[in-house]
Symmetry: C2
Subunit: 136 residues, 2 copies
DNA sequence: GTAGCTGCAAACTCTTTGCAACTCT
DNA sequence: AGAGTTGCAAAGAGTTTGCAGCTAC
């Protein structure tokens, strides 16, 4: 029983076969897969799963805040399991996504929002870059 | 002749009637309108304009980097004219978008990217919040 | 037993595109 | 004159949904 499965059960979800597969795919993923990618990986475990179920499960998990849906300036969504708060650096050449955290950044964002008269509820920060050539 | 029109001409675009209308809508907008919204505002000036033209024009302007396309975690895109670099605070209750700049933030982001071995090409920062209750 | 879940297919939303007609330059 | 642009309608991509049957609890 993975932690994610347990959190789904706690939320009152039935632990069906398709869900177990989708949750396993999400747990195993180290990238930030699209719905299509989750669907393909799920099919390698059980090829009777329908993409509608993948969409429904991911939406459900997003509502329960067990996963986070990202847009990344693409025409489709990508998902990741909710772990500690972090941000993304996206490699413009390869599409690879790297995660990072930075405490100064967190403080600064909270401060900016408050100065503008807002309580900060959520926020996204994405850096898009290219690998630096190694010097020398 | 607006500055935006001039920049389009400089880029080699023909200044047709539909384009003039769309550019005026963009120039007049103080919000960050969706394609649909640009289309509706354009129609109040010239109701023969087609939404395909709005899509094509906005894509073109985005390619020329005269406007910026945003996703804001919605299922559609919003556009704004490229002015100085800034970020967005989105009011979760009203959907209103406020702009801000912050020099410390810029320095910090550049530093983070470089420490991760990347040249920072682009980045987005969005804060989502709710108006603070006025104290007392 | 039953509320919730599933697969399927159809529908929906947002966006892009082929085409013939038209229009800036 | 000619390349670029337009409106229209159809197509495409991603996502959601109605439904009848199925399944975890």
């Amino acid at each position: 029983m993975t932690e994610l499965e347990q959190r789904c059960i706690d939320a009152g979800l039935k632990m069906t076969a398709p869900r177990k597969v989708i949750l396993k795919v999400l747990t195993d993923a180290t990238d930030h897969p699209s719905v299509e990618t989750v669907y393909e990986r799920a099919k390698t475990i059980d090829n009777t799963i329908s993409i509608a179920t993948v969409y429904r499960t991911l939406s459900l998990l997003d509502e329960l805040e067990l996963v986070t849906r990202h847009e990344f300036n693409e025409s489709f969504s990508r998902y990741e399991i909710n772990m500690e708060h972090h941000h993304h650096l996206i490699d413009l050449d390869s599409g690879a996504v790297y995660e990072f955290q930075n405490e100064d950044l967190e403080k600064l964002k909270k401060k900016i929002a408050e100065e503008m008269g807002f309580e900060l509820v959520d926020h996204t920060l994405e850096l898009y870059g290219r690998k630096l050539k190694k010097k020398k």
